[in-house]
């Protein structure tokens, strides 16, 4: 029965990946990658029970945290174009100047 859940999650991941590849805007892609990451956490959790190795749950736990931070960091990079300016207004002003 775990196999059914694994296959369903893999199919969802495939659909999310397709959206990430085709998505018209950057935000579509980031949303799809976020969803992909959430599914990965679930996949690892189901895999832990499927293979009977409960250590994998720790990996799922860590992946849940890293996924969130990764998405936020990617979002910051996309909206600001850099990591060095700490607040958004400054970089928006800069972008305004360059236009």
């Amino acid at each position: 029965m775990f196999v059914a859940a694994l296959l369903a999650i893999l199919l969802t991941m495939g659909l999310a990946l397709a959206r990430a590849l085709t998505g018209p805007t950057t935000y579509d892609r980031i949303a799809a990658v976020n969803m992909f990451g959430t599914k990965t956490v679930l996949l690892i959790a189901v895999l832990a029970f499927f293979s009977g190795r409960s250590d994998l749950l720790d990996i799922a736990l860590v992946y849940a945290l890293i996924n969130f931070i990764g998405v936020i960091a990617a979002l910051k990079l996309v909206t600001q174009g850099n990591f060095h300016s700490s607040d958004g207004d400054e970089s928006e002003a800069k972008q305004g100047e360059s236009k």
Partner: protein
């Protein structure tokens, strides 16, 4: 035995909801409505699958870890959705509102 059946139902329902969400992000017309479809898979699908696994685990450390994963997902997924929507709106991506609705093109 009953617990086994319950957890299977949870796992299968969770997987099915995940696929529904996956179809949703292809059928909905614009970015903001796709965010709602992704929201399905982030909340209820994850809840059901983790609940199904938790029923298999019983009272053990594994169940505690599953609860912790559930809590992280529950707190971080709305934050990520909000950050995405907020950033998209600030960058000038306009949502397609009711007036100019077109049938499920994607």
């Amino acid at each position: 035995m009953i617990i086994d059946i319950l957890s299977w139902i949870c796992l299968v329902a969770g997987g099915a909801l995940g696929i529904v969400g996956g179809i949703g992000i292809h059928r909905f017309p614009d970015f903001y409505s796709r965010l709602h479809a992704a929201g399905i898979t982030d909340t209820f699908c994850a809840t059901l699958i983790l609940l199904g696994l938790g029923l298999q685990a019983g009272w053990s450390i594994a169940a505690f870890k599953l609860a912790l994963i559930f809590m992280f997902l529950f707190f971080t997924s709305p934050t990520a959705s909000h950050a995405l929507a907020n950033a998209a709106l600030h960058s000038g991506l306009q949502p397609r509102l009711d007036g100019d609705e077109r049938e499920g093109s994607s």
